[in-house]
């Protein structure tokens, strides 16, 4: 048999669910002290998530997509990027976005039905939340191409879900990444479900990571609940991208512990057992155990930090709640850089109507 090509997909895991190392820890993330701030960040994200869900339940927010269970993957992705890089999220990667300077109030504004949530005060070139599944992956390929053409040392990082990895735009992104050798990292956050459709119904592929082979990219499967594995996987892909070697697909294996969004009821389609089992592998647990064993964490410190998180999140929530609705003309004011006369006439009419109605 003549072999035209052969491939291996590597799997990365360092901390097992019980918090014990299952492999030699990578050099860069061996010291628990370096990892500690990220663990704290994960707790902050979870506090935010929890409060956002409650806000929705009390009618003060629109539909909200929780990130419960994704904290290691999201925070790990955000932590691996440089400020000059560009991040293109889907709609639940708050953990990554907070690391880049997106403010929680912006998340709330977006889900609260206010476009100003997308006008990030922080990362000016990052993409806003992207509802049309996986289109952000291809947009990020375009961003990466712009970096390459301008010879900038920047990397575009994009993430989508397991469902998103079925989308043609995802394939277009990896095809482009390979064809142009782009500084692009395509993160597939495989949380087991795309609303009600399980991972196995999306594709016949054994791993989602191997989809990168279709474009000749580097492929990696990572335990997405293991922050250290996430960081190491990202480190390899970012290094590769930044040094001009091209794109990667990383599949992060994690689990969506919440409903798809607050508009969803996952009990319709998935069993309690699966969710229960997933809670034993969730990302906080193992890190907490490991950091506690290293003497860097304990219950008291957790309690104090969670209180601080709550305080910080409440500031953001209040800022959101105090934000006034945009004036009616806002729907006209950002459409064109050079607005046509008729649009201005419609704008005037809308303002007049608004005034008439008090």
């Amino acid at each position: 048999m003549t072999v035209a090509a052969h491939f291996e997909i590597e799997y990365l895991q360092y901390l097992g669910p019980d918090g014990k190392p299952v492999a030699e820890l990578p050099q860069a993330f061996r010291d628990p002290a370096t990892v500690l701030p990220l663990f704290k960040q994960m707790l902050y994200v979870r506090t935010f998530d929890d409060k956002a869900i409650r806000l929705q339940r009390t009618g003060k927010l629109g539909t909200y997509a929780a990130c419960l269970g994704h904290e290691a993957t999201h925070v790990g992705i955000g932590a691996s990027m440089q400020p000059q890089d560009v991040f293109a999220p889907s709609y639940r990667e708050y953990g990554a976005q907070f690391m880049r300077g997106v403010r929680p109030r912006e998340v709330l504004m977006y889900w609260g039905g206010d476009e100003r949530g997308n006008d990030f005060a922080g990362p000016k070139n990052d993409y806003p939340w992207c509802v049309p599944i996986a289109t952000q992956m291809l947009m990020a390929a375009g961003a990466a191409l712009s970096f390459k053409l301008r010879k900038q040392e920047r990397v575009a990082v994009a993430s989508c879900g397991d469902g998103g990895s079925s989308k043609t735009d995802f394939y277009a992104a990896l095809n482009s990444a390979g064809a142009y050798t782009l500084p692009l990292v395509l993160c597939v956050v495989n949380n087991g479900w795309a609303i009600s459709v399980p991972r196995k119904a999306q594709t016949g592929a054994q791993t989602l990571a191997q989809k990168g082979l279709a474009g000749g990219l580097a492929c990696l499967q990572v335990d997405g609940n293991d922050l250290i594995a996430v960081l190491e996987g990202m480190r390899r892909a970012m290094t590769r991208a930044r040094s001009g070697q091209g794109g990667s697909v990383i599949e992060f294996l994690t689990y969506r512990l919440h409903d798809h969004t607050t508009a969803d009821d996952a009990r319709r389609y998935r069993g309690e057992d699966e969710v229960k089992a997933a809670w034993t592998r969730e990302p906080m647990l193992r890190l907490r155990t490991w950091l506690t064993a290293a003497g860097l964490w304990d219950e008291a410190r957790e309690k104090a930090w969670l209180e601080e998180c709550a305080r910080l999140v409440d500031i953001e929530i209040n800022a959101y709640l105090e934000t006034k609705v945009q004036p009616v003309e806002a729907m006209f004011d950002y459409l064109y850089g050079d607005p046509p006369p008729e649009l201005l006439a419609q704008r005037a009419a809308a303002i007049a109507l608004e005034k008439r109605n008090g």
């Binding site: 039905g113 319709r268 609705v325 729907m331 459409l335």
Partner: protein, 337 residues
């Protein structure tokens, strides 16, 4: 066959528009084995709006297919199945996710029969929850019917009551050609009416006169039927008698029904959610300018979404045509001539 799929009970309960859709799907699945349903989350989950609730349990996963998350695939698989003798009813989860289907709809569905001189055909339905006003996230509120109305070979249908939802969906599934069936999600659960599960289809190509009037014709479709009827009510209080027409099938358009009404009233206000410029209202106004000029006592008016994107939900109701805007336009028309 499971209980819920058997013949309609003697005294049917009143149902909502979306329940009428489920009822029509179940009816046709029972009576035509070529019919099947496919889309994202249409199976066990019963669809994000519950349009396919219970169908998977009754008809099984080989008739109610969950698809991988890709609209291009849904469109392509649907065209492939339809052209090989099945009658697929595909769902796009929301209006804003339909665009990747445009290529297959235009290049293949709409011209399978034409291209092959009738050797292959494409009897399919694409169901799409349509329009704004439900406080949904971005891309979940779009009135994009005009994407399809300039495409020959399609039918573009939009029901606005439970009965019409049922009858038009049956007609759409039975039609030998591709039908885009847009569902005004804002009125999915607006009210209930009794819709006998008798398998009676309603004609496509017919505009429905919902209210008789003599002073002005209000033409609309989809969810705006609600505001338009309310506007007619408000106008009646002022002594203005408004005829209300639900276009229902946008293309091919039953213009004679509109023309007949305008011949009587001499005035016409067209109401739609989509942005004004080149929205489908333009076609109706154009036909009036071509064929009814001598009947018109006043300029045609269009009350529509503004020429911008529908805003996120804090502002969206300010984008959609309101009863107030419709009434004002009608008053202007009546005052004009």
């Amino acid at each position: 066959m499971a209980e819920q799929a058997s013949a309609a009970p003697a005294a049917p309960a009143a149902i909502t528009l979306i329940e009428a859709i489920t009822q029509a799907l179940a009816y046709e699945l029972r009576h035509d084995e070529r019919v099947l349903v496919l889309g994202e989350d249409v199976g066990v989950n019963g669809g994000v709006f519950r349009a396919t609730a219970g169908l998977s349990a009754t008809f099984g996963p080989e008739r109610i297919l969950d698809t991988p998350l890709d609209e291009t695939s849904i469109a392509g698989l649907t065209v492939g199945m339809a052209s090989q003798g099945l009658r697929p009813v595909a769902e796009a989860q929301f209006d804003g996710f339909m665009y990747p289907m445009v290529d297959f709809i235009i290049c293949h569905a709409a011209r399978m029969r034409y291209r092959t001189r009738g050797r292959l055909t494409c009897p399919m339905v694409l169901r799409v929850p349509w329009g704004g006003g439900i406080r949904a996230p971005e891309h979940h509120s779009e009135a994009n019917e005009s994407i399809f109305t300039n495409v020959p070979g399609l039918r573009v249908v939009m029901p606005s009551s439970p009965a019409r939802a049922y009858g038009l969906l049956l007609a759409a599934i039975r039609d030998p050609d591709p039908v885009i069936y847009m569902e005004p999600k804002r009125i999915y659960r607006q009210y209930k009416e009794v819709v006998p599960d008798d398998g009676e289809a309603l004609p496509l190509d017919v505009c429905y006169v919902l209210r008789d009037g003599s002073d002005i014709t209000l033409v609309t479709w989809g969810a705006q039927v609600k505001e338009t009827l309310e506007a007619a009510e408000a106008l009646a209080k002022d002594g203005i008698s408004a005829e209300v027409i639900d276009v229902a099938t946008l293309t091919p358009l039953d213009f004679p029904t509109i023309a007949e009404s305008v011949a009587k009233t001499g005035r016409c206000v067209i109401v739609h959610e989509a942005a004004k410029t080149a929205g489908f209202g333009a076609e109706i106004a154009a036909r009036l300018a071509e064929e009814c000029m001598y009947d018109l006592l006043a300029p045609v008016e269009r009350v529509t979404g503004y020429d911008t994107h529908i805003p996120l939900f804090r502002l969206e109701m300010k984008y959609l045509p309101s009863v107030e805007r419709i009434v004002a336009a009608a008053r202007r028309a009546v005052a004009a001539g």
